[in-house]
Each structure stands twice: as C-alpha cells, then as structure tokens.
Amino acid sequence: MEEKNITFQFNNEDIEAAPGRTIFEACRDKGIFMPGICSSQPDLGVGVIKTCDTCYVEVDGELKRSCTTEIEPDMKVSSESDKAKAAQLEGMSQILKNHELYCTVCDNNNGNCEVHNTAEYLQVDHQKYEFTSKPYAADNSHPNYRYEPDQCILCGLCVEACQDLQVSEVLSIDWEREEPRVIWDNDVPIDESSCVSCGHCVTVCPCNALMEKTMLGEAGYMTSMPKNILEPMIDLTKEVEPGYQGIFTISNIEASMREDRIDRTKTVCTYCGVGCSFEVWSKDRDILKIQPQPDAPANGISTCVKGKFGWDFVNSEERLTTPLIRKDDTFVEATWDEALSLIAEKFLGIKEQHGVDALGFVASSKCTNEENYLFQKLARSVFQTNNVDNCSRYCQTPASAGLMRTVGIGGDSGTIKDIANAELVVVVGANPSESHPVLATRIKRANKLHDQKLIVADLRKNELAERADYHIHPNPGTDLVWISAVTKYMFDQGWDDSEFLKGRVNNVEEYKQSLEKFTLEYAEEITGISKDQLIEIATMIHEAKTTCILWAMGVTQHIGGTDTSTAIANLLLVTGNFGKEGTGAYPLRGHNNVQGASDFGTMPNYFPGYEPVENDEIRQRYEEAWQVELPKEPGLNNHQVVEAIDDGQVKGMYLFGEEMALVDSNINYVHGAFEKLDFFVVQDIFFSKTAQFADVVLPAAPSLEKEGTFTNTERRIQRFYKVFDPLGNCKPDWEIFQELANKCGADWHYESPAEVMDEAAKLAPAFAGVSYKRLEEWESLCWPVDENGKDYPLLYEESFGFPDGKARLFAVDWSEPYEAGEEYDLHLNNGRLLEQFHEGNMTRKSEGIMHKAPNPWLEVSHELAEERDIKTGSLVRLTSPYGKVKVRVLVTDRVKGNELYLPMNAIEEIQAVNKLTSSYHDKDTHTPNYKEMQVKMDVLEKDGDSPLPSVNFRFGNPQPHIGVEVEKKWERDDFTSVPEVVEREDVIDGKSDHAN
C-alpha cells in the first residue's frame, strides 16, 4: 500500500509530496528551482554531500538545509524570507572565497555551470570574502584532464563520484591541511595515481576546477587569449567590479554565442555492451568533450575511459577514405563505382559458377541494427544464401542458446537497475570492472553503500573479486559442475522455490533426477571448491530475496559453453529468481551491438527477432515483403564458413566491421583460409589485419558519422545522431549495402536508417512498436516492443518465452575442457582490459590511452615468477600446439599458480593471443573455446622494461572512504556554520535596539 502524501507549506503555498522526501526533492519534483550546487547530480543523490550550503530554507523559524530536511505535515517552509535568503547568500559567499568569477573568459561558461547559475540566481553582487589564491599549482599531469585548485570550491562532488559512484576510491578532500584541496590517492600527481580515467569527476564538477583538456582554450570565444592579456583583464574586471549581475549578463550573452558554434549531439557509445549514451560536444571536426547527462537510461552520468576519452580514432589520419582494389601485390585506390561493380561481378559470378552457398557473409556487432538488417537482407534476398553470421558467434551465442532453452528469450532478463537492486549478485567468468566498466560501478556502489552481497567465481582476482564478499576460484572450465551442485543442494535442503516451480516451470522432476551425480563431493573433486564453500554459496543464494547472476566469456568460450549457461538459468529457475525486480540472468554482451546484430537477423538460422528461417510461414512473410523467393535451409555460421573455405566450398566472402584475422581463435588457420578465398571484400574504418587479405577494401563510416540504433545488453534499443559528415569518400555501411544490392539488380530506396527500422518493425513481431519517433533523444525501448510502444525492461513477469508461457528446466552434463597435452604445463587465460577496446584498432589512436596502456602484457603469478626466475619486464615465448607469441611479463597477484593471463590488446601478430588458441569450440553453437588452452613458456630475456608503464592505475594506491567526509570540514577551527554567521550579522546589522 502506498503511504499517503504529505502536504506542507512552501512560500505560503501548499505542496504535496511523498513522505520521506526532502524539501529539496519535493520542490525539484514540482519544478521549483532551489539553489543547491552539491545536490545538482541526481546520480549522486540529494543531501548526501552537504558542502555547498546554498540550499538553506527557513523551517518554522529555523534555518535548515532543504537537501537533508524531510518534509513533515503542516511544516512551514520559506526560501524567500530575509533569513533564508541571507543564509543562501552567505553559503554562496563562502563558495566564492574559493572561486574567481571570470565567466566570460572561462571555458566552462556554456550555460550549464552550476556555480555561475547559482550565483546569478542568488543575485550575488559583490565578493563578500576576498578571494585568495591557494598555494598549489594546477595539476596538468593527466593526459586528458586537469585540476585547478584555485578555482575549486571544495564541494566534493568529484570525491563523491569517485568514491561512491564509480567506486575507484581515488579522490579525497584533505580537510586537515591549512588550505584544503582535492587530492589523488595519498596526494600524488593525478597521472601517478590509481585514477582509471573514467571522467566522472570532470563530468560532475560544477565549475571549471576539473576540465577536459580538449575544452581548454577551445570552448569560449575569448578563452584562448594569451596569459599576459587574460590575467590583467581579470584583475581589471575585479578592480572596477561593477557588481556581478552585469558580468553575468555579458557571460550569458557569450554563452549563447557559443551555442552557435558548439554542437551537442546525442550518441551511443560504440565500445562495450553497456550502451552508455551521452552528448558529443563538437566544434567543426574537433570533439571538445563527451558530456554525459542524467537522462541517459543505461549510464546516467557515468562513463569509462574509452567512452569519455577514446574518440580520437574518428579523426585519425589512418582512417580509410577511399575504396581500394587489390592489383597484384598492392592495393590501388578506386572509385565507388569501380569497387562496387567489381564486387557485384565477382559475387554474381561465384554464385553462378559454384552455387549460392559458395558465398559467406560476416556481419559486425559494432554496426547498427539497421545495417545488420540490410546485410542479412542482402545475403538472403540478393545472393540467396543463409550463410550470414555475426561476431557474437565468438562470444555470447552460447549464453543466448542456454537462455532460449530454458526461459525462451536470448537476452538479459532485466536491466542494470535490477542488477543494482538485487540483494545478491553472482558474477561467473566475467570481469565487468574492465569489460563493462559502467555496469560494474552499479555493483560496486550497491556493495559498498547498500549491503548488496557479491559472489565472484573467477580464475583471476579481478577488481570485483577483490571486493567480493566471497571469491571462489574453480578449476578452469568446471563452472557447470559447481553451479549444478549448488542447484542440487537447493533441492536437497528444500530451498527450491517449489511454488514457482509448480506454477511456472516445466520438466522439474526429470531435471531433478539429472542432478543425481552433482553431489558436493563430486563437485569438490572436479572444481577444487570445498564442500563448505559450496554450502556457503547455496546459503547466500537462499538467504537473499533476490539474486542476479552475471556471466561472460569465462563461461561461454568453452566446449560446454551453452551447457554452463543453461546450468546458470536452471539454478535461477529452481530458486525462483526470474520475473521479479532484482532477479534474473545477465549474459554481459561484449560489443556495443552484440545483442542487436543477432536481434536483427545476421544469423544463419534466424530472421530478425529470432524467427527460424526454416519455418515456411515466417519465410513467406519475408518473401512477400521482399518480393523474392528465399532459401529455406539454415546457413553456415562463422566457424563453419572458415572450415568451408578451407575445404574449398566457400569461394567468396563479404565481411564488415570485424577484425576476424586477430580475434577469431587459431588465427594461423584462419589466415590460411583467407588466403584460399577467390574473392574477399572487407569493409572497415581502418586498414585492419583482416583487410590485408582482401581483394576489395571498402571505407566505412563510424557511428559518429551516421545515424542508427544500437541495442545494449539490457535489450535496450537506443538511437544515435550524426555528429560529423563521413570523412573523405567513406560511407555509412547501410548506404554501401544498398548501393551494392542495386548494382546486383535489386531496387532498394531507403532514404535513411529510420526507413530500414520501419521495415524491420513491420516484419519482426518482437520489434513491432519500434520507431525512430519513439526513440528520440534519451528515449529508449527494451524489446520486445508491442505495436502500441509498450516495452519490457523486466522479462517474464507473467510468462516465459514459450508458447505455454512456462519455463523449462533443461538437463545438462559437464564436458571436460580441452587439454593440450602434458608438455604444455601452464593454463592460458585471456580477455579484455579496461583501457583498450578489444584488439585496439580504435582505442590505440587515443594518445591518452596509449600513455596509460600501450602494450599487451602477460600476467604471471609470484609463485611462477619465482620458480622460473623471471620478473616484471622479462620477455617470454609462449607456445601452444597452434602457434607462438612473444610478450613481456607482469608479475601480479591477480593470477595464481600456473595460470597465465594475456589480454587481447595486440595488433601485432606476434603478441596476439589467438596465435595460441585452437579451433575447438562449444559443441552446440560453435563458439571457439578461447578459454581452454595450455602453453609452455620459454624465457627469452630476463631483464627488460615493464610492459605496463608506472602511470597505469594498476600501480596506484586507492584511499577508500565514504564520500567527501564533510564532518571534517565542520570540525575545522576556521569553520563557522551559515546559520551562525547569519545569526551574528543579523544582530549587528540593526535589528538591535541600542545604538552601538
């Protein structure tokens, strides 16, 4: 039952609000502006910081902070009484002691400066307390942002963001020194701290103390003025100080002028599957900054280093800007007409000569839903083949398959909000802090502030494992066993949710019997996790009202990847953890559009919306719409296509936006296959390793140069807008597909991606209500979307994705992982890292990122380092049965014993982990078993430079505490509270009845 609203009086008017709201919140909800610099970030909360003191109101005669005072019935609140106004003004005056107002020549004067706007609102006219410089120089050491202590108002928004939202716990305000300031770690230069460069602090800074370096001297009309003019000018302004109101008028005019030359365009991040959206502030072709907004549905104001600072690739000189055609041993530039005519001629020739299935199509999970839709339409309708697949085959197809078996829909069951609200989060074989950084912040925050419990099962002691209430280290490739044992234990203890199982799940008894062999003893023997630990995990799941399980490639990239994913869904079903808030299964999608690429049909067996191509009725629907007969048999997936090339079955291939030559497993074999192709088209924004094998290379446009939609890990469809025109002669991928289709005789006339989406929505019931109109600005839709626009952020509230609406428990057995043989004595683990995206084709173009993490490295445990007599910087060769790499060592306690970790940020083959991986694969979906490999190690050089520079955050020294610790400010001798000052001055200023 909802509690009744409370009515209170605000400036003599009745206001109604929910109990528990603060005065500040109640006013904000009613659209009443209340000053409050340190409550200006909704993601950080209202009233948690308490440093700015500008939100004072008079409550029944007493001065109180509106941000912390909860409303009460009949309470009389005034924000306009003399006393309240004097208090607000005093708060602001104390701030201006630390901040010089030179707005017109400040790069932060863009209409959204909280300090400027609040000072203006409070009609501050003069500096009450003299501004004095702090005895600290600006810290310019970080490549992407700078801190100017002289302008810092010590509000601590940055500290709060770093400590409690991003939870990297780097920033503090040192209240104890004579002149307080923000410090990094234990007061080291920013660049040498544990700062992960996520940009939260810069984003929340309410003034110009923390700023992106790309803004400095660029944003304003007069901000690039040389210092010898600027400084006297500020002095002059201060000297003649006609009152700040006049200055504000001028600065407001200047801010409006800036709107003319700075474009703010909403985009969706093109890196991981979290799907952050934010504004790109641009001036001509320069990116001034990435500005997140609280309205962004997945991330709010959060970003990671790549989303905030990783966009330099867009203007890289290495961008492909013109089509290339192979002539003998060189590529020569060509016109679009030449290139597309050649492709049409060759592909139609192969189709004629060798049949339709001699062509293969590999789609990109970095490109848009519309582009994936058109690509599968191109393959199916123009070239008559279902040989079309996307790169989710390399990562998450097993997770989708496991979910389709059990709950019916191959996607996350809820949203990031559910993960944040769960009582227990279990992370299996995933490293969200580095691979899904913004999603990880929500877990870290809930764990730090809201008593959320966290279990991590991983070989590595990654950041979440470090923070977890419980970290287990199962033997590689044995997750299915411990998960099934925990599930069996649930049944044995009577901890299964029998009501849920009875009402909503099929196949319970058969499944229960299939668990027979998964005793705690068996599990202990196989996984190395003790019985006690298993019982502890089961108990934690049992005791939590809501549990979410998250997993990624540590689960899927195995021979039994689909089965382990299935086992996870089984455990959640048995414990009733589906269909309610804070529960569910969350395969964390790797690329920005892994979800969407499969959703929109670049799969050999599915049309868009996962409708089988074999189904006559469904196929007929597409045949009628496209006016062409379509092939019935499912085509080859990526893995099978490579095999078929090797066998001489597939002769021609078209690949876009995928660095298959580095990221597919066993790349020596893949390269061999590429060399056998008669005709190979590669479409990319860079001349990739894969492009080196091509006959035609087509220059594509990245997301900032086109329109479209991406679908994130939450099944959330988000729209992005064009920031720049395509560079040189490059074109958006969808335009290229359309032109090629028309060269081959099709008659397509899409004017924009919106029209492509309209067609997909008409044909695929899952997207029936999706339209660009419904996706404007920060609007988004979590599919399935009904025709009337209703979407489903949380799935299975009423029914599961099967015709009878019930879920199905699905019996699975453990598949032993691949063993390379006895001589290969070290286990090789691999994956991503925070700073570089994937192999690094895009992020390596960012100087700041290269400064922080320029090379791949091999993580080696202390034990192994000692045993082999190597240290950080040693050069070693790793050999597997499939190939060799040479990399430098980093000794760390993130890995244990004989387990190695090699991140995949290599663009040089000799460092690429996939020289070592095999062509074995998940038995159900053909996803390569990247995580199952052993190697032997030879030491080549004992001494050498560390592959990771000392300015990397991993060497930092975080200082965890909660928030800004404002109590320390209040304890300072020189601190007088605002009500005290007001009280004192009130008496002095004339309410007294005696003369002096």
Partner: protein, 166 residues
C-alpha cells in the same frame, strides 16, 4: 589465393591537381553567391579608399602587443575611476523614473531660459526686489522642491556617516 599485403598505392593528387580542384570549388561558390559578393567588394573598396583596411590590418597583425599594451594602460587607477564612474552614472540614470525626470528637466530648461534672459538685463538686483521675487508662487514652488531635495540628500548622507562611524 590472396596473401596478406600491406602495400597501398595512394594516388596522391599532384599539387597541381589539388590546386585545380580547389580553384574549381571556389569558382563554383563565387558563381552561386555573386550578388552578395558584388556588394561585399563595393564595401571593401570603400573601406580601402578610406584607409580603414590598412589600419585594421596593422591592428590585427600586432594584436598581441596592442592587447598587452592597452590592457596595461586600462588597468590603472585613473582608468578604474573612469570605468567605475561610468558604471555609477549609468546606474544613476537607470534608477530615475522617466516621468519625474522629464518634469524636472522641463523645469530646468524653462529655468535656464529665464536665467539667460535675466543675465541679458545687466541691471542691479536690489534685496527688496529679491524678497518680492520670493513671494512669486513659481519661485516658491521651485524653492520648496529644492529644500525637499536637500532634505533627502542630507538624510542619505547622514545614514552613510552613521554607518561609517561605527
């Protein structure tokens, strides 16, 4: 049977080709906008004849030095006074109510006219005549306004002194 290759023959446009392309683009723009351009050329021509362009050129070329010199000159006490007084004067005018000011100004103009006539007479004014004049209703009105004005001014000056004295 395609081996991986990395050689790309970039058909670098020769400098001449690039120039020609640029010229062509420019010409197209010129033709499209010829009417407005004609006007601009006229204006530029006039500016040149008037010597303005030369001056502007010099100023722009030396902008850093000039900026630095002038800001130094401006950043002096006398300049501060000038600017401050300027602001005060503007503020003062802003505070006056236009109707009252109009009435006052009309009175002032009229008074000045009369004064001018009076000065032309060049005759001695006797005390007696002065007293007689005081009884004139117009003079009385003006005098009462003046005393009211003095009263207000004194009050404001008085409070200021009181505050400073504390």
């Amino acid at each position: 049977m395609a081996k991986a290759i990395t050689q790309i023959n970039v058909q670098k446009k020769t400098e001449e080709e690039r120039q020609r392309q640029l010229q062509q683009d420019l010409l197209n723009q010129l033709t499209e906008n010829h009417q407005s351009l004609d006007t601009i050329f006229d204006i530029v021509d006039e500016l040149n004849k008037a010597g303005v362009l030369d001056m502007v050129k010099g100023f722009l070329r030396m902008r850093d030095q000039i900026g630095s010199i002038s800001i130094e000159k401006v950043n002096q006490p006398s300049m501060h006074h000038l600017i401050k007084n300027g602001f005060h004067a503007i503020e003062f005018i802003g505070k006056l109510e236009p109707e009252k000011l109009e009435k006052m100004m009309d009175g002032l103009v009229h008074g000045l006219d009369r004064m001018a006539k009076e000065t032309e007479k060049q005759e001695e004014v006797s005390m007696w005549k002065m007293f007689k004049l005081m009884r004139d209703p117009h003079v009385l009105t003006a005098l009462s306004y003046l005393t009211a004005f003095l009263n207000g001014m004194g009050e404001e000056l008085g409070t200021n002194r009181q505050q400073e004295g504390r």
